[in-house]
Symmetry: C2
DNA sequence: CGCGATTGAGAACGCTCGTTCTCAGCGATG
DNA sequence: CATCGCTGAGAACGAGCGTTCTCAATCGCG
């Protein structure tokens, strides 16, 4: 058993669990389902992750890196800070139109387990504050206030829950145009 | 057993379950906990609600009426449509500073059970669209576009998740000032 | 070819929880 | 005062699930 040979197992399990947890909710998915979907037997699965909770933590970490990569890729096509900010909403728009979109995984996980698991609550909070910091960085480049950053982040969060629950994918478009107005207002005021 | 005598039981159960479900999550709360908190024995409890799912539906209905009443009360102190809109964010601000605030109960319930229970998903969606309609009505009185209404609703949703997960109660204040800017922009443009 | 370590498949265990059942106590009624 | 029906408290039941264990098949190595 070389340590490198175990890596594909880990990834397969995390990706399968992520897909299942996101699609059906965490508590609704049994370890047997993870095993079936990943093709990794229970024994190896528990060799990699001591418990379902530990697996969940890794799944959330994985999901965070996916999100970060998506945001970075969306920003890469833009040069000006303003466009990088607006690219966030374009990224959301694309995501919302995905077939298996079911809201923000962190918001969902927080709603389901945030009160019971401090670990889950912490990871969700970190993801949100990370995003807020990212937006704040871009806003700073713009020379606008920190309040604008908070408002832009709130718009993004609201778009996600609105798209998820109301099933309105155009929430991203509305958030985007609102963001543009807020940015313009902040810049002309300064 | 007069039918009117059963009413207090119903209310006590619904209120106790609502408090527990909201505080800890739905699946984390057993029927025994509901029984203990409400003081209503299991037998009567199951006489009123055929299952936990049925109880949950009533709990969500109850929560919806509480929300509606809160919004209505907040709007009552204002006369102009603009102030009624801004009153929504004042209401959120007050709510966010509550000790036991843990986000929007509908967003949480959707995240936990929306994928598994179409009933829960439907009730959450109805609550959100109801709120969107309410905002849309006020925006219409203002003579502004339907897009502004969508944007204002997104701000309210985003403030709720931000306050819940990031633990930032001032999300309501940021949403409020953003709302004011968007409203002003929409009105001067017209 | 033979033997021992490893592994995969799934059975088994223990716990939780939704739901139902039992039974002792009690109040009403004739 | 005796009896009958109802009620409350909690035991009991059955299912689901996280986690562990069994055991036969397999692979590597001498």
């Amino acid at each position: 058993m070389t340590p490198t040979a175990a890596a594909p197992d880990r990834e397969r399990v995390i990706e399968a669990a992520d897909r299942l947890f996101y699609a059906h909710g965490i508590q609704a998915v049994g370890m047997d389902a993870v095993r079936t979907a990943s093709g990794v037997p229970l024994k190896r699965l528990y060799a990699q992750f001591p418990s379902k909770d530990a697996l969940l933590v890794e799944v959330l970490r994985h999901r965070r890196s996916i999100w970060d990569a998506g945001i970075a890729a969306a920003a890469a096509s833009a040069t000006r800070p303003v466009d990088k900010i607006l690219a966030v909403y374009d990224f959301l728009d694309e995501w919302f139109r995905t077939d298996d979109f079911r809201g923000c995984g962190f918001i969902n996980a927080f709603g389901e387990l945030g009160a019971v698991s401090p670990e889950v609550a912490r990871i969700a909070r970190e993801q949100k504050t990370d995003f807020q910091r990212y937006v704040a960085g871009l806003v700073e480049e713009l020379g606008a206030s920190a309040e604008l950053a908070a408002q832009l982040a709130i718009l993004a969060e609201g778009a996600q829950t609105t798209a998820a629950i109301s099933g309105a994918p155009d929430a991203a478009i509305h958030a985007r145009s609102a963001a543009r107005i807020l940015i313009d207002a902040a810049l002309t005021e300064a």
